[in-house]
Amino acid sequence: MSLKHDIEFTLNGVKRRVSVDVTMNALAMLREVIGLTGTKYGCGEGECGACTIQVDGVSLNSCLMFAVDCDGRNVTTIEGLANDSKADALRESFVEHGAVQCGFCTPGMIMQADHMLHKHAHPDEACVKRGLEGNLCRCTGYKKIVDAVVACGAAEVTP
């Protein structure tokens, strides 16, 4: 029998208690235990970025994280960005630029771009390419994705 452990953490602003397999990764917990399937499984090895989430304010690959390691931390998934005005602007920019083809990489791209825009409010093209280098788009629609993120940063008014 696999070893279970109870953890408590904040998920998209809400406190959650779950019992998880100790060997399970955070991606499997999100998708299979909690039922949030916006975060995608692509490669399982940190190469593709489809499973990107934010933990304690930084982006990381949920496939490279033990679910038990979420204990006590603040986790945001793509579903958690639904009511975020900054992320809304990013989503609108993706739509406007046609930066979505099959859509499978999109949640990871948005999560990573959102993290990057928090660090660099007005990134140029080189900065965006650098920031998204851990995210693969197998439709190869990179140009429009990069354009969408640059445009979103450019439109952002610094308060």
């Binding site: 070893l3 452990h5 100790v22 060997t23 990764n25 399982g44 090895e45 940190g46 190469e47 970025g49 990107t52 930084v58 982006s59 990381l60 690959n61 496939c63 490279l64 994280m65 033990f66 038990v68 390691d69 204990d71 006590g72 990573q112 993290h115 990057m116 650098r130 920031g131 280098e133 851990g134 995210n135």
Partner: protein, 288 residues
């Protein structure tokens, strides 16, 4: 080997080393390597999985006397962005900048990169030429015991180090570079992001009036461990870095390394690249 029976997340160093006493423990920090390796069945988790994330003594980057201390839990991003590191150890910043992707830099720790002991570990080459020491903690009796070991003697093979099963890497200590210090790092791979280096090179020393002293050279991905290059260092020591010297040293470097053929490159290619890039790096050092 026993099966996983226990998950433990200590909140103090004492608790952690106490737990390590029986030696049947898998240590979890950033998880960027342990997670996929254990999911794929390449690494078997031992009796206890110990998550060291909540141990405050393992965090932070500080100046202690004439040394910079980097806690084992410092992430690659934290190191890369820290003012102390940026000011005194730009060669480490450069290596961190070539490390995997943003997501992995945000999670992966320096302690993990050291303990993984990959011959191609990105931070290991700059740490070697910066003369870093690894700081270890254990509890042989009832008391916490700490000691340090030069990083150059720490690695014994791919994934193998001189750390015993009862020891925990708590951090790394790097002497503050002296006046005239120069250091360069170069990683050769097929793409900038997420690539495991084909070879990597680090060079450091003190440059005064065009003469390099205290020369240190380290190579990655050309031996079972990241390694200092004694013959190359000897050939460099006390030399003026003119074109003839650089050519001579680069040839010695090529002869000194004993790489293997693997999926990333042939041994022949690696030797040629060691020659060419040593030459390039030394020309950069000469212009520093």
């Amino acid at each position: 080997m026993t099966e996983l029976k226990h998950y433990f997340a200590p909140t103090s160093l004492d608790q952690a080393v106490e737990c390590l006493k029986d030696g049947d423990v898998t240590i979890l920090a950033g998880g960027t390597d342990l997670t996929p390796q254990s999911q794929a069945g390449r690494v078997k988790i031992k009796h206890t999985l110990m998550n060291i994330r909540h141990i405050p003594q393992l965090t932070g980057i500080t100046l202690e006397g004439r040394e910079i201390h980097i806690g084992a839990l410092a992430t690659i991003t934290e190191i890369m962005e820290h003012p102390l590191v940026r000011q005194h150890l730009p060669v480490l910043v450069e290596a961190c900048d070539h490390f995997a992707s943003d997501q992995i830099r945000n999670a992966g720790t320096i302690g993990g990169n050291i303990c993984n002991a990959s011959p191609a570990g990105d931070t290991l080459i700059p740490l070697l030429v910066l003369d870093a020491s690894v700081e270890l903690a254990s509890m042989p009796e009832a008391k916490l015991y700490r000691h340090t070991m030069p990083l150059s003697t720490f690695f014994v093979g791919p994934g193998k180090t001189r750390k015993s099963l009862c020891e925990l890497v708590t951090g790394v200590r790097i002497p503050l570079p002296e006046q005239g210090h120069v250091a360069r790092f170069f990683k050769l791979g097929t793409r900038p992001a997420l690539d495991i280096s084909t070879i990597s090179i680090g060079v450091a020393g003190t440059l005064r009036d065009g003469v390099l002293s205290n020369a240190r050279v380290a190579f990655g991905a050309v031996a079972p461990t990241p390694t200092r290059a004694a013959q190359t260092e000897q050939a460099l020591e006390g030399q003026r870095l003119d074109a003839a010297t650089i050519e001579k040293v680069a040839a010695i470097a090529r002869d000194e390394v004993k790489p293997i053929d693997d999926v990333r490159a042939t041994a022949w290619y690696r030797k040629e690249m060691i020659h060419n890039i040593t030459k390039r790096i030394l020309s950069h050092v000469a212009q520093a």
